[in-house]
Symmetry: C2
Subunit: 328 residues, 2 copies
């Protein structure tokens, strides 16, 4: 029996000697060589997942969601970590370009050429968490501006006016949107934070730590701080602990992204939460749809809602200033 017949059978075509084929496959433990198949058909049965930091629990959860969807398909998942570097990302993308059928990407910056070129070259690309300025990609985002605004409103409603923010880089979507959304909501309440209350950090723990330290060292420290992502929140909390600043008595803190242990902190952390694993699964399903051939559909831009979880880390501001001992 010819290899062509087996190939057709595997391809789902109608064949006569089904039994014999199945038997032979079993007996030999036959598995089509992916490399040969790729060479012939141009399909790699592989997807790239490119994230800035796999140790960020948010991206780990996204990865899990993506993985769980592709597990039931013939597609396997390449993982790449860019360390928030657009340069690394570029290199990785070029390398992976010729070995995958699609890319799920959380880009380091909104101004990038490579994904645009690859998209134009026909590569399906789905953005998660972040997107580019050109809105030509399928994307799974959350309402960053709305979430940040909810954080701002929460603080305002509690009576804060000296409100600071530790922001992520303004070059990527969540960084920029949370920054803008937060400030817009404050402005609507008639609050315009002084320049020194606006720390633009890097989404890293060390960035959050140092930014919080700078805020505490201000002549007039804020009474409330919004921290734009989970790992910077961890850094901020450590800075607070190092300076023995009591939360929420001395300062209120609200973070974007929930923390696994957030509920166990003392006080438990008030946060803006979002459905990370679902975002990953959704991105994977959008990718599957593109791969199934709907290649010229208009881009699907999905924005999921965030969720304010009020716990104990934000309270009314204390009457006076911060106690003397907090001043540098």
């Amino acid at each position: 029996m010819s290899t062509a017949t087996v190939s057709r059978f595997l391809g789902g075509e109608r064949v006569r000697e089904v039994e014999r084929i199945v038997q032979a496959i079993e007996a030999l433990g036959y598995r089509p060589a992916v490399a040969a198949r790729s060479l012939r058909s141009g399909i790699h049965y592989a997807i790239a997942m490119v994230v800035p930091d796999i140790t960020n629990p948010y991206f780990a959860a996204v990865a899990k969601g993506v993985e769980s969807v592709f597990r039931d398909t013939h597609y396997r998942l390449f993982l790449a970590n860019t360390d928030e570097s657009a340069t690394t990302e570029d290199a990785v993308l070029h390398d992976l370009m010729h070995r995958v059928d699609g890319i799920i990407l959380a880009p380091a910056a909104e101004q990038e050429e490579t994904p645009l070129r690859m998209r134009r070259a026909g590569m399906p690309i789905v953005m998660v968490d972040r997107e580019l300025s050109e809105k030509i990609f399928d994307s799974v985002l959350v309402d960053n501006a709305g979430g940040a605004a909810a954080a701002a409103s929460h603080l305002v409603e509690l009576g804060h006016t000296a409100i600071a923010m530790i922001s992520g880089p303004l070059v990527n979507t969540p960084g920029r949107m949370r920054y803008d959304g937060f400030l817009a909501a404050l402005a609507k309440a008639g609050i315009e934070p002084p320049r020194e209350y606006l720390e633009v950090a890097n989404f890293r723990e060390s960035g959050g730590y140092e930014a919080m330290l700078r805020l505490l060292d201000l002549p007039k420290p804020p009474t409330a701080v919004f921290c734009a992502n989970n790992v910077m929140t961890v850094g901020s909390l450590k800075a607070l602990a190092a300076r023995r600043v009591r939360m929420p008595m001395d300062i209120s803190l609200i973070g974007f992204d929930d923390l696994d242990l957030g509920v166990l902190l003392n006080p438990p952390l008030t946060v803006i939460a979002r459905p990370a694993e679902e975002q990953g699964a959704l991105a994977a399903r959008l990718m599957l749809r593109r791969l199934a051939g709907e290649d010229d559909r208009a881009p699907d831009r999905i924005m999921m809602p965030t969720n304010l979880i009020v716990r104990g880390s934000c309270k009314k501001p204390r009457a006076g200033q911060l106690p003397q001992r907090l001043q540098a």
Copy 2:
């Protein structure tokens, strides 16, 4: 100029017209087709990384370490998540088998056939965190027994005798070694915990939560608990909080694996820590050595030390029993 010359140039051989070749490559943006190369040479330039749970910060860190090493090579990394299921793992392994040059594996159980067969078939396999009963693989482990023993000794030295353990599954290496190491150290101190003090759970948060609840509901609850991994520790802590058990006054808790926020808990968590990212990087380097051809070297079994970090969650046991309100 022939394709063969270019191929040789790319292969690092000596050529005459280097300039023209480089120019042509630049001009065309030429990249060798990985599929064709694989088909011809049998090399895939891909490694599989198979872990039980990518959202476990330990494995996320391992993955980061692995990824960082392979980033500087031509190898790319497949990621697969098995959810601690040997069945899923088996399926994944078979699927990946024919598309990778090596596998970095944290197996769900110590009794598994598939990795043995694949190894015999010539597939380089490096174990991280866990290994199989047959010790024929390169592996990067930590001194689980020693770490667990250190935890036990710490509790004993503080004066505890009613000591419980929330263990992982005994079918995998860290589960078993931590269990054995902990009990051995207790035995050496003349302590043999009653059966109901030994909870065998599943390395999941829910498992830690429920196990801790059962311990608290005992007629005579333990005064100290050792929790065998990070995510179960989170569960345990939540159970403690739910029951309003005060730590360390009512109960002492020590966990295996540090937590990002461990230092911020109240009290800060005493833990057995280990170098996750380094373990990943090391595993990747062992893999690279195998790939470089040293295929018949004896297996390299590396055991890294753990590190007891004493913070505030373990103290002397209180005089009497747990207060009445803790009893179911």
